[in-house]
Symmetry: D2
Subunit: 375 residues, 4 copies
Amino acid sequence: MGVNERLQSYALSDVSNLKVHGRTTGQRSPLTLFWTGSAVELNAKASELWVEIESDYDLYEPWISILINGVPVSRQMLTAGRYWICVFRGMNENVVKNVRIVKDVQAMNGDPGCSLQIHAVKSDGVFVPVEEKPYKIEFIGDSITSGEGAIGAKAEEDWIPMWFSAIHNYTAMTAEALNAEYRVISQSGWGVLTSWDNNPNANIPDYYEQVCGLVTGDKNAALGAGDKYDFNSWQPDVVVINLGSNDGGAFQTPAWKDPVTGKVYKQRLNEDGTYHEEDLATFENAVTRFLDRLRKNNPEAHLVWAYGMLGFPMMPAIYRAVDAYTKQVGDTKVSVIQLPNTTEETVGARSHPGELSHRKTADALAEYLKGILKF
Amino acid sequence: MGVNERLQSYALSDVSNLKVHGRTTGQRSPLTLFWTGSAVELNAKASELWVEIESDYDLYEPWISILINGVPVSRQMLTAGRYWICVFRGMNENVVKNVRIVKDVQAMNGDPGCSLQIHAVKSDGVFVPVEEKPYKIEFIGDSITSGEGAIGAKAEEDWIPMWFSAIHNYTAMTAEALNAEYRVISQSGWGVLTSWDNNPNANIPDYYEQVCGLVTGDKNAALGAGDKYDFNSWQPDVVVINLGSNDGGAFQTPAWKDPVTGKVYKQRLNEDGTYHEEDLATFENAVTRFLDRLRKNNPEAHLVWAYGMLGFPMMPAIYRAVDAYTKQVGDTKVSVIQLPNTTEETVGARSHPGELSHRKTADALAEYLKGILKF
Amino acid sequence: MGVNERLQSYALSDVSNLKVHGRTTGQRSPLTLFWTGSAVELNAKASELWVEIESDYDLYEPWISILINGVPVSRQMLTAGRYWICVFRGMNENVVKNVRIVKDVQAMNGDPGCSLQIHAVKSDGVFVPVEEKPYKIEFIGDSITSGEGAIGAKAEEDWIPMWFSAIHNYTAMTAEALNAEYRVISQSGWGVLTSWDNNPNANIPDYYEQVCGLVTGDKNAALGAGDKYDFNSWQPDVVVINLGSNDGGAFQTPAWKDPVTGKVYKQRLNEDGTYHEEDLATFENAVTRFLDRLRKNNPEAHLVWAYGMLGFPMMPAIYRAVDAYTKQVGDTKVSVIQLPNTTEETVGARSHPGELSHRKTADALAEYLKGILKF
Amino acid sequence: MGVNERLQSYALSDVSNLKVHGRTTGQRSPLTLFWTGSAVELNAKASELWVEIESDYDLYEPWISILINGVPVSRQMLTAGRYWICVFRGMNENVVKNVRIVKDVQAMNGDPGCSLQIHAVKSDGVFVPVEEKPYKIEFIGDSITSGEGAIGAKAEEDWIPMWFSAIHNYTAMTAEALNAEYRVISQSGWGVLTSWDNNPNANIPDYYEQVCGLVTGDKNAALGAGDKYDFNSWQPDVVVINLGSNDGGAFQTPAWKDPVTGKVYKQRLNEDGTYHEEDLATFENAVTRFLDRLRKNNPEAHLVWAYGMLGFPMMPAIYRAVDAYTKQVGDTKVSVIQLPNTTEETVGARSHPGELSHRKTADALAEYLKGILKF
């Protein structure tokens, strides 16, 4: 093999004109990518570019996608270890390439050992500034927003990182349609109040104010996952909350018993199959409280509750909760939109929305957000 | 990282139920994948699967795509070296997964150092038989058939392996639509008579009877690239020949001078911009001779000349040549089909057909071949 | 011209196997078609078929579409008079043709002279029974449901019957997708509480219990438009209510002054552009009361409020009103669905939903109703 | 009914700014529309417009479509008689409406009684000039070009005018895509040499130099159908010849015996199912001769043989014939394009191309003609 003698290595902390996407700490030696859709972005004027990553996990390995000039050209599993990955080689050194290296899998609450870090890059060229985008969007959600099932055959049933995609995902598609920068906070199975199986700890709001508080274990703690997130550093124009699917599921699944306290949690159905009013009210209170918390931390953002990709049984409750919030606070910069439901034609792996379902949602959501952003 | 203690390693030559796609030698220790679309296919009943590859090159690195149950889930550059790649992990060990590891880049005439080999697999399960498909198709072509530009942004201009795709390719799509096994013989820039720049050595027919004779250098010779290909081992039902685009281009480009003999080659235009009749006749003779060679080696196959994805100025000449062949030989199992032209909407990188253009061609070609195969 | 000597004329009242669609009176000598989508349907085993219609109007002429075997083949303006129209001729007399002659324009509140009647048919064959469909749907709406703008160039601005379509209409498309019989109650500009311009008389609920009470004038009275509608004669499985767009518009338009009483009506905006709470409550009460009335008359039907094809500012109020209704009555067979918004790509004439927008709504609505109808 | 007192009637010969489409005689009192796609076009600044037509036939009645501002809004059978048809009413009298009244059915060789004439218009406004289009295209063809089966259910089998469409037709679609004026010469079942059933009289070339020579009977003769056509009056930029499908069919159908001379005609198959060489040569000579005739009458036009919508077995012969023509005459402004084949998804009534097949052909053909017209 020919060797490119002109390659020079740079610690990531020394790379000027580096753009980091996604909530993370200030640390750059190395940089940790926590959330799906997190990324490093570079405009490389070079013939060759490598990136040094470090991957670890007990169960669920990280995956990345690489985009060159906006087009995904590579997607790979990152087996454990610290090593160099070649991003491109043999290109015209006088032409600037926009490069995004994107974490393709969600933060993993279920695997304390899971982490993805970037140490360094090497190249034979220079990095020029990445243009700022005019809008910022934060997406908050569950497996849908994590892109679970957005890649893979319909027959797939294993719960593994391979079937997650940050790219075939309405978040990325919506942001691209609006020319917006975006961040994602999401966790499969979680809700506003409880998880799909009634676990009250598996709720997003409790972790919203941390960098990535829902990951577990000492290593993640040491990486700063539990640090208070600095909202001033990145104020979104819009926060999209795509939660409720798992809260709805909790009514249909068995109770959850806290292994420590022995306390049992269950969102109840009435005998006629309708939702128990008290439990529904508890959910609605959780929505209202979360809106409060979102507003506190994002004083200027439009808050858009976007729901419906896997059915929309909780919609009346969401509307009531948003109503209640609006009345209590007098805040009118909040609204609800129903997203296109997933059909047999648009479903993907693991009975989750496939790429086509994500596309339809992105079309509808981008159109709606254009009105809000006054395009 | 947790380690799977149950993984066992197998030399590829010891793997029963291995299916190899694409022309290659009988050698399995290791197996060499020469052509784009070449692949190993396995039905793995296992929770985890790795493959040991060896990649080398002076200029143009190999890429692979991995398909699980027919869906591409990974695509990666193979930097030089011998190493293990994880295909999947953490899956249900009782379920059979169909796996294809596909060479995503053409054989590289321009890089004698380029090679891709597979040494071994390791797994914690077993390999069950891969079902035989009812049809076999051989595709012969140039950059179009190599999938040049089928991936990447429209702005891309570098001639590098990254922009080649065996997957976003009419060959793979047509074969899938027909439930056919397929092989590809292709080289960017080459033609029936000459290359796009009038080089008479860059013609596919001269190498058709070898395993992969158009690759160069001692290493490839040692790997058996120049060996006589055993046509009896794999007789296609249809041979699709998508050649002529570069032969047409040769009329528009400067002459080529043989560096050894000093002889100059040029397909000439008349003053009014039409093709010089003599040179056109030379092209037609090359087509006719190639059909003879194809028939000799594929006595039962339907020969389908399929042309037009980047314009169709050579179509009258191709029809004349096929006519001449039919008359000389009395062979009626040969026909011509015009493929959908690439438009602004369907173009990909490097001004070549994009994924959508390949899709349109696959739709038209599969429909046509259904008639021939008596679906 | 050759004359078909075998044609025989039949008063409509004498035609057995006649299927009448749409609310109308029991009168068949002649039959009056009031609403858009109203129709006569026949299975004609004949070579030729004519229909005798009578059309009248002061301002807005009726139009019809003719469907043969489910495909629209003719659409024509019906100028005033009583005359025969040829439906088909020259066909195989041994083959049964399904024929629908459909009123393509809404009932016209603004034109007391407008009427469309069918007197007779003539044919050289026989009429065989029309198969009953397994489902019945009633659609209630405004200009959207009347198909205003579903045909015609985007530039069209005249308010004329030509731009109305019962065929390029989500009602017909949804019914076809579900293999359902359907009826339509609709009027451009009208709402649940008021019209788009604050006229409280222009509300659908007040006329819901009559055959077609919203048309005016002595002639229509004599035709029985104001008769009490016999709900027992046709009980829908689903009632789709697509109202609210004009009620929302009323907040944005000037007050309406009753010419008789001098009383002024206006749905008010607050200074910050939000809806005045009292007026919103008045709207919500109107929704709740209408649901009461719908339930009274359709004891078994699912009530589906479907809204959003021209934006969805009233959605929170609609959800509140449906909630209130459900709580008051304990009725859970009522739900809300947001329909796909109309975009630049899907808009039709007069800034109304075009055919493509109707198609998208039909896709979403049919999918949703499949769940309700337990497909 | 209210009567518009301001309507004034004008003999068509007195209407300035009238645009007539399609080959016809100079006669305007009345104007005869012979071919499918023939039309009158007006830019009417008026609130109301009527047209007086006269229709006659023994077997096959004429149909028209009416387009307002380019959009088809009405389609109707024209039963025999002379009468007024209302085109529009109630529109803004200050706005100009572009109106096309289009003959939707081919000239009828099989019905000497068939004719469609336009006598007069009446309106309350004025007619302003119709803008000239930059290109002119002549289409020559058979049932495909006549739009047979482009409207109607797939199950339809009757050969009746109802299933013909000049609008859902690649001719109209291609012309619209290129902003071109167009004319159509076509007849179902006819070919270059013979009809589908070997009748040598049913060939288009013999009638190409007359206004509409293929219609029959004294009435049509008196209307000038057999007059020499004045090619100078309208010179196309492109002539598209879509013939060959019926010539191909003749090889598969029984012989035709001339009832007068007793002579028998048959395009023969060889025993192996291939075309008999002599008979194929006869077809090719007919193609070559027709190209000669087309060139004589259209000295500057590009001649484009466009074939393949219902399979393309004659393509080799067409290429040979075009080759032969080019060599004999030295004419290079002639080319061949294969059109997209009709599939199960795109087929219409009577096993003919449906609207979607016409759309696909129009897309491909317009793209090709753009290159020729140097867009």
